[in-house]
Each structure stands twice: as structure tokens, then as C-alpha cells.
Point group: C2
Chain length 524, copies 2
């Protein structure tokens, strides 16, 4: 019987191509009709409907290193530790992902009080909760269908929250107007980024949409471009100049790309992920001028806008700079800017809150955007509520203000301290070179690897993956190899978050340094 | 200056094709290089980067009637009412979407208590909260990174919640085993449905993946297929037999489709949306046999599994039937089943919680699926927590049990009452024919429209859209025209939810009936 054949061979040996050439990808119409007849005749060993060979090829090309093989191995090791397997360490430290609360950062009290009130409005009667938290919760609930966060919202997001976001942007940018109709709430920033990219993708062959992304990049971008079948255009950040962006390099990349695709989009991450740089105002101006000249849609990933630590560095939003360059720019350059509740001082990754502001978008395209987001109904309401509190925090005359400011300041001050600590300690080790962590939550140090280690890793594994895997097995520290973000040929890096608590971070840095020396010695 | 030109013409008149033939879609490589030079020379009036003409054509094809033009008009009317504009009604009743809490359904106390505890764990000390709610909250928090719902989870979902889901499925299906590794938590069911469709899409031209969907359908399916560029294969439900599914019709549709695409997927919604039927066990068996014979991947949308009202009807999961058909089926037929926190007795739409179970999926494809979902990091944690409570509700020996059961039963009993009421009242009116609402949350009555009304609407508008728009303007009732879901040529319907509170529902039904008579008279 069929099931016996299945049991004997196992699904991996039953391949469509082998058993029924008619049914494979590329099979002709007529063959498919025959196949159906074969089935009726009892020739049924056709293997799986869905296999690696006949699935969506774009999905196969997707890679996402931040949660790739090294993280899967880390999870496995955690289970081994739990099961009592002896290791040279007692816990796995996951410094692979910007997940603040997983690393012990406490949630901001005010945010969580309001969320509890929204979830269970009976608590509005409870004297434990401050009045301003209740006021915020009541306002959010009144804006919800049936006064409940369990109802769907408008697909673009709850209207009063979009108004609050617009006012927040106006304050941030010194009064430059923001229109709530241009605000779209989202399921984290990733959701909004993918949506805008999706709008922009069209054409085939040499006319296919090309998208410029920085190298190193945050792999959401390469993953989304693979998924959408768009052309990835790499421009390299200048490691020797603190990962700065040079417009000459943008020109080089664009000009090369014009030979084989239709470049339409320029993506910038500022403050930088994974590279931690903060762009100067001058650089942003140059980028905007370039985008205008070259007729590119600008995507500004600004989710780390509160995470600026280095002296002399300041966050300038692309929108602010755009508008200060005058109407020649502010009325023409098309742009989308992204923000999130997952980063900054909040670190509320689990709620998947975020927004984007679109600027100078064609009204007909905006209508298409609104239609597209409506298919997924709406972003999660708890995330929308959280975002409202971020853009509309306690004011000096409100009871929660002092605690809120104390908590916020403490998180950001600790991050600044850890940023500086990380740079200092790494740079004491020969073979590790680390740029200052000016902003965001990551360091992306360059590591010098001995040639014999590079050779040893050659069998299909990137040398920095080999390095990080060894570090994980020997020290229980989980980093992401630089190859997952892209890097100049022949250079090697890793990304590490600066999020572990200060004392633990010191231990982690120390262990990595010792490992590096040991590794270098072993392969020298 | 450029900005003056912009101001004079307005963006809609500045078209890429007009001003710079070189820069339009389909422009050749060399032309693009020239364009850059033109820009430098000051010829800069190139219009928008992103226009309706050069955006993603798949996105343009997307339609989602549940939030389409009629709902946009409803929102506008609400604003007009607020601004004091006089109308023949005082409020808009939105019966267009299955949004229970927006229609006044109260959240289940236990669910919201646990969510409040998870959001603000200080409440774990509060004596107001029952012990079982605290126990659930503590268990969820312990499974979260840093014991916080603000941390990311594994991309597949929190492990202990996936275990709870698997046990829930086993109980539901009378002990048929469910493996937590086959459970993927999701951002509502829509997210999971689109993900599975995405895996399955490949090929070009006659080899493009075809997906069979019922007509009438829930427009998420047609929207996702348009977005993915897959081929939609319509099979018609039998209105004369209470919207039942006949395998002969599946065969007809499949055979016709094989002429122009590669049919690989069969989607079923049971209980039905928008048609409210509940499939018999026999029908499910026939469908499974058909899927096996024709080598199709089965997608079972079972989000209304608790919403069964009609006597003699019972929900059978596709998985249960599949496994009871013996190993010849249970070890071969590939399937995904979808569930959600938005429907049933919970109606927690705003949290965007859901899961899917995949069965017999090729392990290599499963690895690709896991990789794909990792790009979006994780589904929202509050939605995951909520799902955990749905699959792991209070037990008879726990303090919240009585209240929980009372609330749950009340919701389902009221829905059953409203289902029957709806059918009865509609069927009293000549020109409205309504099948029993056996399950789900909708009625999809057929309406007879006078020929002169059909003619009047012909100018680009579907006749049932014309009808629904008139109803909205005259009575303030927002329905979705049948054309948004698909229907047999020459027939007309609308979808209405049965969710308004009973007294209000009676008024709504009465008003629709009166409107129908008036409309029929006007055009006769």
C-alpha cells in the first residue's frame, strides 16, 4: 500500500521528480491532467505537494542572521544545560538581539500601569494607580470601538494616537508640521518597512526595482528584498571613519547598479544598526540632495532616535533636515520615516508597536497603501496604546512625571556607560578593533582572524561564523557573525548588543577578549 | 524654479512619462544613466518617484471589501454626524465586520485579569485577583525572556504556549496527537494564512501556482493571492443547499484551472465566512479524499470552530477527520489549520492572536517556514498570552471557572439566538432569501433587485454596492455588498454580522427589511 511505501522510504526519498516526472515544477498542462488520471489508477507515490524543490524560490533566498543557525544552536545548548549536560559555563548569554527586557531591563512603570488599566478597566477604580495613568487609559479606551482594546481599530491606527504621534514629531523637529493623515501605525517597524518596500517593487529584468542598503545592514532589509524579488544594491559604510556614509560611495553603487536594475529607493539606518554610528547633519543633507538628484525614494529607519550616547553626536531626523533645506526639497523628496516601541528607553519589543510617517507621497499611492494595510485589519491595539504613551509621556505637572523621568534617564545613562565600556575594553585586545558606539544598541568590532582559522572554516562556513560558533560552545556567549550583516570582502566582524547589565557585560567582554586571544593562539 | 513649477502644475499633472520619457517604467538602462545627467543639468521636473503607474502592480490588484469604499463612507458619515450634519439617523451601525467588542460584547473577565497581571506584575500581590489568574500570569511571565511580556519570544511563539495549544487540539480531537513543533503562533489568523500561501507560490505562466477558494469567499484570500501573484481558482458553494460544498464542483473548477495554471492548494473555511454554513463530516471526508487524489495542499480556516448554532450541526476539525480516515490519509495529506483569538466567544480582535498547526509538512519546508517567520521576530506577546488562556481556560476546581463558563455560555447562547432571529426576520420579506446561519457570525442573504436598479448601477458600480450604499445613506447601516466576496453571475447578496446586541439587531433587521421594500418599489 501507499503508506507502506512511505514508511519504507521516508518522505525525503520520495521526490516528485523521481516518481512522477509529470508532476514536478515546470510540468506541462497536459501532463498535469494525466497525473490526475494516474492518481485514480492508483499510481499515487507522488511525494509531498510542497517540497524544497517546488516552494517559493524567493523565500529560499531569505536569510535572517539575527535569528539564524547560531541562535538555534544557543537554544539547543540552553536545553542541554537544563537537562544536566556539563558545559564550561552555566548559562547562555544572548547578546545577539536588541531585546532589552530579556537582558533584565525593567519596563517603565507608567507604560505598564496604563496597559494594565486598558486591559482590565475595572482597575480604573483602584486608588493604587496614579491619575495621569488613568486619564491616558480612559482616553485610549474612548477611542476604541466599544471602548475596548479587544476591538479592531482603523487599519491606519487609532485616530487620536495618530494625532499624538504627529504632535510628537512636531515637537521633536522644532515645529515642522506633521499631518496625522500621513501617520500609519504598524506591527513594529519591520512591518511598515516591508510594506513600503512592497509598494515600490515592480518591473522585470533590467527594469526590476533596485533598493540601496548600507553594508553592514540590518538583515530585515536583505530578507525583505529577497522575499519581494527586488534587487539589493550595496553601498559600504566607511569603517575607518566611524562607519560614516560618504555620498561618493552612494554614487559609485548607484552607477554600477544602473547597469542591471532600476534603482528607486535609498534606505538609511540612523543611528546605525549594526554599526552604532550617528550621522552628522551635513551627511543627512548630502544624502537628501543625492536622493533628489537621483530621483530616489528615501526610507529613513530611525528606530534608535533616543539612543545617542557619544559626546558631540545628536540625532537629526531626516524630516527635519529635509524641511530646513527649503521648499525645493521639502515639497518634492518622497520619504518614509520609521519608529518603534521596541528600542530607545522603552525596549518594549514584545508589543510590536511602531509607526511610519510618509512625506510627499502621491495621494493615489497613499490610497493604495491604506488599502494594502487594511487587508491585515489593524496593528495590535496594546502596541498602539504603548506607542501613544511613548509619544505622549507624563508632563511636569502630572503625578507620574518624576518616576517616569528617573526611569527613562537611568536606562539611557546606563546604556551610554555600557557603550563606552564596550569600546574601551575591546580596543585593549590586539586583533579586535572597535569604533565608538555613538548610538543604537550594538557594537560591530572588526576581528583579525589567523589564516589557518579562515582556511579551516572554508568548508561552506563563513570564518566569522566559525569563530562565533566556537565562542558559543566554549563560553556560552551568543553573538551574530558579521557575515550575517554584510562586510567588505576579507574583513570579519561580529555584532554584539550592549544590553546585558553592566556587571554581566564586563564579564562578557572579558570572556570574549580571552577567547579571542586563545583562538588566535590556537590557529597561529 | 522647480518648486514653482510644482506649485503651478500640482503633482498629478507632473507625470514621469510626460516630462522625461527616459525615466519612465520600461526606460532602458542607458536612458537611466542619461537621466542622472539631466538632473545635474537642471532638468528636474520628473514628477514623483512612486506613482500609480509605476508601483507594484500586484498591490493595485488587491481588494478588501470588508474595509472597502462603503466602510470609508461610513466613517465619513460618522464624522458628519459628529459635526452636526442632519441625517435620517443618529448613529452608523457597522455590521460590516466581525468585531464583537466594537458591537458591545464584554471581554471575558478571566482573560483580561490575566492580561493586566502580565502587563503590570505588581498586581500579583493584589488580593482582588483570583489565584488561578495569578497562576496563569506567573506561568506566562516565567516563559518570557526576562520574565517580561516586553521581550521578544521565539519566532514560532512561546514554547509553553505552543505546548498548551497542542494539548488543546488533542482534547478537541478526541486524543489524536498534536506535536508542539508543528504549532506556529501568529499575528491573528490572517498572518499565518498569508505565510502558508507565500510558501506555496512559484512558477510562471501556465506553471504558476493556482489556489482554490470558495465563492463566496473571505476576501483575505483573494487579496493575498493578488499580492502574491498566484492564480485564484473559484469553486462555488451551493446556495440552494445551505451553501454546502460539492466535490463535483471542486472537480469542475480544478479541471478548468489545469488549462492555465498549476493548482496546488485547496482552501476551505469552516464554519463558513461569509456564508455561515457548517460542513458535515461526510463533506470533510470527501474534500480530504479529493485533496489526496489531486495532490493538493489543504488549508483549513477554522477560526469559527466554537461558533456553531444550528441543531444537528457540529464542528469537525479537518485534522480529526483526516486522522480517522486512516494512515493512508493521515500520513500523507499535507495540511495547515488556522485558529484565532478574534472570534468564537472571545472576540478579542484587537490583540491579533492566533496559531496554525501544520501536518505532514516536509521537514525542509518547515525549516524554511521557521526561517521566514523569524524575519518578523515574533507575534505580539499579549496576543500569545491571550491565546494561552483560550486553549488553557479555568478548570472546574479553579476559582474563576464558574464566572468564566457563565460568560462564555452567555455569549454563545446570545449568538445562537441572534443567528436564528436573523434568518427568520429576513425570510419574511419578499425578495430576500436567507439560508440558516448554522455557524460563524454572518448572514449572506440573497437579494432580488429590480432590473432598473441594476441598470442604474451599471456605470462601474456593482448593483449590490449601489444597494448597500443607498442603505448606508438612508438608514446609517453599514453592510458589505456580496460582490466583495464573489457570487454567481447575476445574483446579488450582502454580508451582515449578527453581532449587534439583540434589541439593536432587531431594529437593524427591521430597517433593512423596510429599506428593501422601499428600494424595490422605487425601482419597479
Amino acid at each position: 500500500t501507499t503508506s507502506t511505501i512511505w514508511q519504507l522510504l521516508g518522505p525525503e526519498q520520495l521526490n516528485i521528480q523521481l516518481i512522477s516526472p509529470a508532476g514536478g515544477v515546470g510540468g506541462k498542462r497536459r501532463d498535469r491532467a494525466n497525473m490526475s488520471q494516474q492518481a485514480v489508477n492508483g499510481v499515487q507515490c507522488r511525494g509531498k505537494v510542497l517540497t524544497l524543490d517546488n516552494m517559493n524560490p524567493n523565500v529560499k533566498r531569505v536569510e535572517y542572521a539575527v535569528r539564524g543557525p547560531i541562535v538555534q544552536r544557543a537554544v539547543q545548548i540552553e536545553k542541554e544545560l537544563k537537562a544536566g549536560v556539563k558545559k564550561p559555563f552555566t548559562e547562555v548569554i544572548k547578546a545577539n538581539i536588541g531585546d532589552a527586557q530579556a537582558m533584565g531591563q525593567k519596563p517603565i512603570t507608567f507604560l505598564r500601569q496604563v496597559l494594565a488599566l486598558c486591559s482590565y478597566p475595572e482597575l480604573l477604580e483602584d486608588k493604587k494607580f496614579p491619575e495621569d495613568a488613568k486619564k491616558r487609559a480612559q482616553r485610549i479606551l474612548e477611542a476604541c470601538g466599544g471602548n475596548s482594546i479587544g476591538a479592531y481599530s482603523a487599519s491606519q491606527g487609532i485616530e487620536c494616537i495618530r494625532q499624538d504621534v504627529a504632535r510628537y514629531i512636531e515637537r521633536r523637529d522644532g515645529g515642522i508640521p506633521s499631518n496625522p493623515d500621513n501617520i500609519y501605525l504598524s506591527t513594529g517597524a519591520s512591518d511598515a518597512i516591508v510594506t513600503i518596500l512592497k509598494l515600490l517593487v515592480c518591473g522585470e529584468g533590467c527594469d526590476r526595482t533596485g533598493v540601496m542598503i548600507s553594508i553592514p545592514q540590518y538583515p530585515l532589509y536583505s530578507a525583505a528584498l529577497a522575499d519581494l524579488g527586488a534587487v539589493q544594491i550595496n553601498y559600504y559604510l566607511d569603517e575607518d571613519n566611524c562607519w560614516s556614509l560618504d555620498v561618493k560611495e552612494l554614487r559609485r553603487a548607484l552607477s554600477a547598479a544602473r547597469q542591471h536594475c532600476n534603482p528607486r529607493v535609498l534606505c538609511i539606518i540612523n543611528p546605525g544598526n549594526p554599526t552604532g554610528q550617528v550621522q552628522s547633519r551635513q551627511c543627512i543633507e548630502d544624502v537628501i540632495r543625492f536622493a533628489k538628484e537621483e530621483h530616489l525614494f528615501l526610507m529613513a529607519d530611525e528606530v534608535y532616535q533616543d539612543n545617542v550616547y557619544a559626546e558631540g553626536c545628536k540625532f537629526y531626523s531626516f524630516k527635519k533636515v529635509l524641511f530646513e533645506m527649503g521648499p525645493e526639497y521639502s515639497s518634492t523628496v518622497e520619504m518614509a520615516s520609521f519608529h518603534s516601541t521596541s528600542k530607545c528607553y522603552m525596549g518594549e519589543c514584545g508589543f510590536r508597536g511602531g509607526y511610519m510617517e510618509v512625506i510627499n507621497m502621491d495621494p493615489e499611492v497613499k490610497a493604495q497603501l491604506t488599502k494594502l494595510v487594511s487587508v491585515r485589519l489593524c496593528p495590535p491595539i496594546p502596541g498602539q496604546a504603548l506607542l501613544d504613551l511613548v509619544v505622549n509621556p507624563p508632563q511636569p505637572d502630572e503625578p507620574s512625571y518624576t518616576t517616569f523621568m528617573k526611569e527613562r534617564t537611568a536606562v539611557l545613562a546606563t546604556l551610554a556607560e555600557k557603550a563606552s565600556l564596550t569600546e574601551q575594553i575591546f580596543n585593549t585586545v590586539p586583533g579586535i578593533t572597535c569604533n565608538p558606539v555613538q548610538g543604537a544598541m550594538y557594537t560591530f568590532p572588526r576581528i583579525t582572524l589567523p589564516q589557518s582559522a579562515i582556511d579551516k572554516a572554508k568548508a561552506g562556513q563563513a570564518p566569522d561564523m566559525f569563530y562565533c560558533m566556537r565562542l558559543l560552545e566554549e563560553e556560552g556567549i551568543c553573538l551574530v557573525p558579521g557575515s550575517g550583516f554584510g562586510q567588505r570582502e576579507g574583513t570579519f566582524h561580529f555584532r554584539m548588543t550592549i544590553l546585558p547589565p553592566t556587571e554581566k557585560l564586563k564579564v562578557v567582554l572579558q570572556k570574549i577578549c580571552e577567547f579571542h586571544l586563545r583562538f588566535t593562539q590556537e590557529f597561529s
